[in-house]
């Protein structure tokens, strides 16, 4: 299989899968096979592309030339290849989870959720493989449009209002802030291609660099930095399976990947010129991490708690990029991996609990670990990873992040990241402990056969994925080194 073909499959398979699922919603078996099959095809293609990138090769596909000298193009580079392979792999688990939830809840509109999840996955692949800022902007917008119907899926007034808030926040920030940043970049650099070493390197003065950094950081509202974080609360009203897409597999990771790409390929060494803005933003990010973790602590609804918890994790990605240091960039990349694995496990666990027991509140999960041991084992692993406990993925990410903050002299950032980890423990630790150690509830399941394997397996497998950084942290650093080597 050629790399170009793999790239097209990674981008196109979910789109075809979405169309087929919408056209053939019955029988449910066929629908589920199509949904999972498309995710599998995407994952195989993305894995192949990662191996191509690991061998030092690259490829590029141009779909259109909408502006003179600016292509709608996708290409292979280490960061995109890693993120795409990880998210596509988790996407297979999510597809299985979707099928399990659809069967357990008898959702008549499940094919729509599956189709939108596939489209979101295609857009996320586009974000990962985007070759330039223009392409990134296009697929970033497509991701917003693909995910917002999932929030309104229930059809009730509250869901529709939340969907509108979600759309307004994300579209408003991207049109009002990200687009001007993109135009400004084009005006300064005369190009929009992601370039190792930074498109703006040597081309901007401190004032311009600072202004551009502010526009990018707030324009990339999917990363969740206040005050453009209103969509997080809106998306927490989404159905459980939609939350997996939004918080673990597409929207939050798209914000994180976008931030890393902007820091590494747009700013590069020019990030040092924006030190003033970066310093202020770091403080805002650190405080926001702590506040998000505190808000999560105040939420009883599992969806809301996990949404704010994921937001705090996503802000750690932003913090790493703002440190303007190779270690910070590496920490950010690891943090996206940790966020994806951890949030996918948590949100799928919440979905499995809801599908099997109908319970949605944190207080109602006490003792559930005794009747759903695999699900809550996965949840506990994910909680440990989100908190930053070794040997799970989150630990390495936070270790590198704090090391990078210390290296660059931003001790306050390191302290705030540590405080956020403690607050994360406060809102996730007791939840996992109560679920596993509490007294088992009597007759917890809606159905006699309990949670099906399609609900349980994705949770435990995704939880186990948080361990893999333990094994490959060093090779991963070498794999990602082009991200910061271009500028040094």
């Amino acid at each position: 299989m050629s790399a170009e073909l793999s790239l097209l499959i990674a981008l196109g398979a979910p789109v075809i899968g979405a169309i087929l699922v919408l056209l053939l919603p019955k029988p449910p078996g066929l629908r589920d096979v199509l949904h999972i099959g498309a995710a599998l095809a995407q994952a195989i293609a993305a894995a192949h592309l990662a191996s191509v990138a690991a061998a030092g090769n690259t490829t590029r596909v141009i779909l259109a030339r909408p502006l003179p000298g600016v292509d709608l193009a996708f290409s292979l580079e280490p960061l995109g290849a890693l993120m795409a392979a990880l998210l596509a792999g988790l996407g297979v688990l999510h597809a299985v989870h979707n099928a399990g939830v659809a069967r357990a809840t008898q959702d008549k509109g499940a094919q729509r959720l599956m189709a939108y999840a596939s489209l979101a996955s295609a857009a996320m692949m586009g974000v990962a493989y985007s070759s330039n800022l223009f392409t990134f902007y296009v697929v970033y917008q497509a991701l917003t449009l693909a995910t917002f119907p999932m929030i309104a899926h229930g059809g009730d007034e509250e869901g529709q209002r939340a969907a509108r808030t979600y759309l307004a926040t994300l579209l408003g920030a991207s049109v009002g802030l990200l687009l001007p940043a993109l135009v400004w970049t084009y005006a300064v650099a005369g190009a929009l291609d992601f370039r190792a070493g930074g498109l703006l390197a040597g081309r901007v003065d401190p004032l311009t660099a600072s202004a551009l950094l502010v526009l990018y950081v707030f324009g990339l509202a999917k990363a969740g930095l206040p005050p453009v974080h209103g969509w997080v609360s809106a998306a927490s009203k989404a159905p459980h399976s939609a939350q997996v897409s939004i918080f673990a597999l597409s929207v939050l990771p798209a914000g994180g990947v976008g931030m890393i790409k902007v820091a590494a390929y747009v700013f590069g060494s020019a990030l040092h010129e924006a030190a003033l803005a970066a310093r202020v933003l770091l403080l805002l990010v650190g405080v926001s991490m702590c506040v998000a973790a505190l808000i999560a602590l105040s939420k009883q609804d599992l969806r809301e708690r996990f949404a704010y918890s994921a937001m705090a994790q996503s802000l750690a990605v932003v913090m790493g990029t703002l440190l303007a240091h190779p270690t910070g960039l590496f920490a950010s990349a690891l943090q996206v991996v940790a966020l994806a694995c951890g949030a996918a496990t948590l949100t799928m666990a919440a979905g499995a609990v809801y599908a099997a027991t109908g319970r949605t509140e944190a207080r109602d999960t006490a003792g559930l670990g005794r009747v759903m041991p695999w699900t809550f084992a996965g949840l506990a692993i994910a909680c440990a990873s989100m908190v930053g406990m070794p040997p799970f993925a989150g630990a390495w990410a936070k270790l590198w992040l704090i090391a990078a903050a210390a290296d660059t002299g931003f001790i306050s950032a390191a302290v705030l990241a540590g405080a956020a980890a403690i607050l994360t423990f406060a809102h996730l630790g007791p939840l996992a402990a109560n679920a596993l150690a509490g007294r088992a509830p009597t007759d917890p399941f809606k159905r006699a056969d309990g949670a099906s394997i399609m609900l349980v397996a994705p949770v435990i497998l995704s939880g186990a994925a948080t361990l893999w950084l333990l094994l490959i942290a060093d090779p991963l650093a070498r794999f990602l080194s082009p991200l910061w080597m271009g500028g040094s």
């Binding site: 909408p66 502006l67 003179p68 296009v138 307004a168 001007p180 135009v183």
Partner: protein
């Protein structure tokens, strides 16, 4: 013999583009049967479109003789759009026959042709006085169209009256401006700006300014847009007025500005007028569109905002700015055809009537949605392309505020145009669908399909950009 006749027609195509539709109009008005009259009008409009595309092709892409002046890039670019749009609108009128009485229908068809002939004439006129006559002809035909449905809807009469008042003021300013220019330059040929030494630059500047203001009134640019809502928003003629007349008026404005930029003494004044009117139109049009509760009004005010972007681009006075203005005119026409056409096909006017129509009127819904995306400036649409070219041209000469205005227009577009998509696809229907029945409704299809394709031209816009660049170069006197 036939070949010679065709060649003769090609050589005289500017003249035929005016006289052809006028003859068609006379025939259409003389035939009492509504369907027969419509058929004559449609044939005349299609023939005019063919002639216009041939003229544009020869003028912009080949070095062949076209019978128009060497500065006439705007005419060569916009006349095919206007005539092509006119043909599609005239075809669609066949599906709107129920809106007009049998007695008034032939006059309505004739008036549409006169609108096309008038604005084509204004875009191809060689002197200011001919241009004035052509503009007034087109304008009065537009007023007639707005009033043609008055016996069924009294609001149409109110709209027509407002148009008449606005047109009267505009005509006075135009005529006064032509007089000032005639005194300042010594003649009224448009090429005189480039070829003659202007004896009284101040007087000429005032004259050109008055002409631009007169045309701004007719284009519905802010703050002269008081007639737009009532004329476009309530009458059945919105499709013609919103899509064709607005484009014609703003194109004539840009054309006059293009000629005037050739005279160094006039450039600053022209740019100032275009900038002020353009900026006001972007802001006021966007605000009005955001508050609109009716699809036609929303489309009309979105058109005002688009006119603002066009004028701001033209105000740059550079080939890049004029090319950006032309691309935006293309985007404006495509969006207007899709929005007004989609609205006419659906049959409802109030925004709630769009609720849940995505499944029941799929083609019209797709057209409206694609137009909405273009108004938002969504990437890969022609709306994005036009605004990008404008920002590129503006930033190139340090006009950052113009780039900000475009971003503001796009942000407002997200709000007001986003509502349309929300209603079409994400709301439940609140009223029964009352769309035009019968097979005649398929006559909307060519217009809607062409509008959708035109908007999606943003995916691969090479030839559109080439045409706009060639036209802009010609306007600046850079073409051979």
């Amino acid at each position: 013999m036939i070949a010679e006749g065709l060649e003769l027609a090609r050589i005289n195509s500017p003249l035929l583009l005016v006289t052809g539709p006028l003859v068609g109009a006379a025939l259409a008005a003389a035939i009492p049967n509504a369907r027969a009259s419509w058929a004559i009008a449609a044939i005349a409009a299609i023939l005019a479109a063919v002639l216009a595309f041939d003229l544009g092709w020869r003028g912009l892409f080949t070095a062949g003789s076209t019978g128009v002046s060497r500065h006439d890039g705007a005419g060569l670019f916009v006349v095919p759009l206007l005539a092509g749009g006119g043909a599609l609108v005239t075809l669609a009128l066949g599906a709107l026959s129920k809106d007009v009485s049998e007695r008034a229908a032939p006059f309505a068809h004739a008036l549409v042709l006169v609108v096309i002939a008038g604005w084509c004439g204004a875009l191809l006129a060689r002197d200011l006085f001919s241009m004035f006559l052509a503009v007034e002809t087109a304008w009065l035909a537009g007023v007639g169209l707005a009033a043609v449905n008055a016996e069924r809807d009294r609001a149409a009469l109110s709209g027509a009256l407002r148009m008449l008042i606005a047109g009267g003021v505009g005509a006075a300013l135009l005529l006064l401006g032509v007089g000032f220019v005639a005194n300042g330059v010594g003649e009224v040929r448009l090429l005189a700006f480039a070829e003659t030494r202007i004896a009284a630059p101040e007087l000429t500047s005032i004259g050109v300014g008055l002409i631009l203001l007169g045309l701004a009134i007719k284009a519905g640019a802010a703050p002269f847009h008081f007639w737009v809502g009532s004329a476009f928003g309530r009458t059945g003629a919105a499709l013609v007025l919103g899509a064709l007349a607005a484009l014609g008026a703003v194109a004539v404005m840009v054309r006059v500005a293009g000629f005037a930029f050739a005279a160094p003494d006039l450039g600053a004044g022209v740019a100032a007028v275009l900038t002020v009117v353009g900026a006001a139109s972007v802001v006021i049009g966007s605000l009005h569109a955001s508050g609109a509760r009716n699809l036609k009004r929303l489309a009309a005010y979105a058109g005002v905002a688009q006119i603002g972007c066009i004028l701001l681009s033209a105000a740059l006075g550079s080939p890049a700015g004029l090319a950006a203005a032309l691309v935006q005119m293309f985007a404006m026409l495509a969006a207007a055809l899709a929005l007004f056409g989609g609205g006419a096909a659906i049959g409802g006017v109030a925004l709630p009537s769009l609720d849940g129509l995505g499944r029941r009127a799929p083609l019209a819904s797709v057209a409206i949605s694609v137009a909405a995306l273009s108004l938002m400036g969504a990437p890969l649409t022609v709306g994005f392309l036009g605004r990008w070219r404008m920002i590129e041209a503006g930033v190139g000469v340090g006009w950052w505020w113009a780039a900000c205005a475009v971003v503001a227009a796009s942000l407002a577009g997200v709000f007001y145009a986003g509502r349309l998509i929300d209603r079409l696809y994400f709301r439940k229907s609140s009223a029964p669908y009352v769309g035009e029945g019968g097979g005649w409704r398929w006559l909307f299809a060519p217009m809607l399909v062409v509008a959708i394709l035109a908007i999606l031209l943003g995916l691969e816009p090479a030839w559109l950009l080439t045409a706009a660049d060639a036209a802009a170069a010609r306007m600046m006197g850079l073409a051979p």
